[in-house]
Amino acid sequence: MTVSVTDPPGADAPLATGSGARPPGRGRLARRLRAKAVIPVAGGFLALLVLVAAAAPLVAPFDPATGDLLHPSQLPSGAHWLGTDSLGRDVLSRLIYGARVALLAALVAVGVAVALGLPLGLVLGYRGGWADRVVLRAAEGINAMPFLLVAITLIAVLGPGLFKSMAVVGLVYAVMVLRLVRGEVLAAREELYVTGAAVTGASTARILWRHILPNIAPSLIVQVTTMFATSIVAEATLSYLGLGTQPPEASWGNMLADAQQSAFSQWFLAVPSGVAILVTVLAFNLLGDGIRDAFSREDTGNVLDARGATVAAPAREQDDDEPAPAADDALVVVRGLSVSFPVPGQRGAWTPAVTDVSFSIGRGKVVGLVGESGSGKSVTAMALAGLVPSPGRVGARSITFDGRELAGADAESMRALRAGSLGVVFQDPLKALNPAFTIGTQLTEGLRVVHGMSTRDARREAVEWLDRVRIPGAAARLRQYPHEFSGGMAQRVMIAMALSSRPTLLIADEPTTALDVTVQGEILDLLRELQAESGLSLLIITHDQGVVADLAETMLVMYAGQLVESGRVADVLGNPRHPYTAGLVASVPRNRRRTGPLPRIGGVVPAADEWGPGCRFRARCPFATDECATGPVPLRRVAGGSSRCVRTGEGLAFADPAVWLR
């Protein structure tokens, strides 16, 4: 008899564990519950079952205990829809009364389990201490024993019988509930809102009742529905063994025992009670699954299935100037890149993340791609590498890399590109490295598998690379795991990994954001050196203007999925040609004596459905006019770069801090 276990945190069940998962507020909850068809179906079936069981005396055609000994073991007929058992009793009636027993039994077991396990789990999980440790060890021990054996032992004390045996089952389940609740509370306890509540002065009781319990409730509800299912099986099992419901009372379990006796003479008897158990358990499980899915986190997509860009038709609403003809030595030329994602829950609806972006990266040049959240900068870079997670859709008029056309390339070609000419460094090195494998394995993987080096050669090369990125004691470090490295060291390892295949383009996505500021400078220095040494091109994505100023020669500014300004770094930062860039430059605090309140950009970044036909920045722009709202604003070439603003040529002082102080 298997007892179900809650699925581990993953795509399906990240309930209230850690700050990545959030149960929805109440409004969204009701909508989500309705959206899942399986919930009302399963719930409806169970409600019907409860009704039938409650009304058993009215619904059952015959008395379940009295048998017609003249007609034993009959197959289904008009008089007895499901036949009779070996003592001539009507199977259908016994089935209906059995439903009553099953549901009552489950209620007893689950009731005992929750009544005992929930409060104990709450208190122990929150308070901790020695009581917690002792009880936890005991609980683990009990759970490690085979459930049935424990139940049998306890029933030995109490004697057989339905309620006693289900109370025993409930006791064992209480231990499981305790462990589950305790685990959830332990995680919830670390949440900031609990700390916040403590700071506000809430008592332990209030924190448990109002803050922790509502947030762990979804997980508990799922577990409880599963427990109903397993209680029904437990009752059937114990009754089958003769330890639960005693004859002549009908239970699905002892009906199966009867069926076994008559196995050789009448085979049909085995069917009804088994099907009854199956269908009821299935209904509870589906209900639990439905509830869990209703609360689960939005899917972050599957990067394994990521595809490259498809060739897009030139659907240009705005009449962008062609960017300055890319020099013959441009390594990467992107024309008309767009990326969109499907709206969860709505078939056929897509949200654009990037619209019609064009730029180029020269050989041996460093380009900075700057933007805030919602700008689409990371997505743009990932699109270049063919790493936009499915089900995202990528389209471009053309993406050329070193002369080769990438738009329309298949997944295998993109993989080969990444293996050889393209390297990527990600933001959080401790998450981007696999915790279960040594650095050496991960570093040499590419070299061995992709470039066919022998293990020994690959290890030697790996040590050289670690030396080049200034990691001391490289040889010993190969045998260490990522969690043994500090953030800065781990990022150096990532850089080594990316560069070991000697790419011509390195994409660095927020490479220093997760690092301390004193380490940041070192990593940027390292990148600069390596870039100069090998002459590779570098595309650095960041929200930090300081990083761009330090490292890049040219920069691209993105806002709400569009490219709004480009040019040489000194020009863009010193004399911005677009109001957004100007606002950004004005609002970043500098290490200067304070002269008054900070200039700032009012409002928030608009969501895709708020973009509208005109300029996407107009709602927050102090220079906006009516013209800005009428139609798409084209990207116009300006001295040394480009800008997407109708007022660029007017000579206005976009960067005047006074403008941004209102």
């Binding site: 929805p24 507020g25 109440r26 100023a549």
Partner: protein
């Protein structure tokens, strides 16, 4: 630096944590999170606390909030000792010292509406009638630049900047004297950061509340603080008026921090890099000689 005019005074505080691991029977390794830390905050003043990871600034925040017991030292509020050896502090302390955290969404209970979130501290203080509580809640939500209509919504329906405003409103509910802000703008977009910083300044101007402003970004801290304390590995290595610390730093670590700031000024980049490298060397040497 001590005086009865101080709102909050932290004196010579030590905090150590036991580390997991080791064989049974052997003493466990300990990590010194804070050693001999002293800090004071006056009414209406903003003290900025700067440090990188491992500096102990978050631990100090927890000590000030009464969430972290100390092994040694004292914490005084208006001259009165607060018992920080025990994990719980009196309600009166709670009302006067509040907090705003780094993760705006994480600090708000997702199952409570904005109105409920703002009303909770008022409920716990239990000094107002229901009507008065509601009035105060409306007052708070408008104070931070949100609308009355927002009161019935849930946190997930707001942007990061708006969520942080809600957190600030909640902190202000019982008119505290000190608000501890632990990296309040680090998780926000640059264009939103300045909005929130301005809001904080306005609130200080109108209510006279003090701030302990903790961040790793020295430029932001300089802008908002009257005084700055720099932390490194559990110690305060430099402390003084904000402009003095930033324009004329004395400790090698402070110098290194300042030099590591990346101003968006490409022309100065090369010079600054060279300066940073030499300061990093100097700092590493100073560590070597003192240990």
């Amino acid at each position: 630096m001590t005086g009865t005019k101080d709102l909050l005074e932290v004196s010579d505080v030590d905090v150590t944590f036991a580390l997991r691991g080791g064989l049974p029977g052997r003493p466990k390794a300990r990590h010194q999170a804070l050693s001999g830390v002293s800090l004071s905050i006056r009414p209406g003043q903003t003290v900025g606390l700067v440090g990188e990871s491992g500096s102990g600034k978050s631990t100090l925040a927890r000590v000030v909030l009464g969430l972290q017991p100390c092994d040694r030292g004292r914490v005084r509020l208006h001259g009165q000792d607060v018992d920080v050896a025990r994990p719980t502090v009196p309600r009166s302390f709670r009302r006067r010292v509040q907090a705003v955290f780094q993760d705006p969404y994480g600090s708000l209970n997702p199952t409570m509406t904005v109105a409920q979130l703002l009303a909770e501290p008022l409920r716990l203080a239990d000094t107002l009638s229901t009507r008065e509580r509601w009035d105060r809640v409306v007052e708070l939500v408008e104070l931070v630049g949100l609308a009355r209509g927002h009161l019935e919504r849930y946190p997930y329906q707001f942007s990061g900047g708006q969520q942080q405003r809600i957190a600030i409103a909640r902190a202000l509910a019982c008119a505290p004297e000190l608000i501890v802000l632990d990296e309040p703008v680090s998780a926000l977009d640059v264009s939103i950061q300045s909005q929130v910083i301005d809001l904080l300044e306005q609130i200080q101007a109108s209510t006279g509340v003090s701030y302990l402003f903790i961040a790793h970004d020295l430029a932001v801290v300089r802008h908002i603080s009257h005084r700055i304390a720099v932390m490194y590995r559990g110690r305060i290595v430099e402390e003084g008026p904000a402009d003095e610390v930033c324009d004329d730093p004395r400790h090698p670590y402070t110098r290194l921090l300042l030099a590591s700031i990346l101003d968006a000024d490409p022309a100065a980049s090369a010079g600054r890099r060279e300066l940073r490298r030499s300061l990093a060397r100097a700092f590493a040497d100073s560590l070597g000689s003192s240990s």
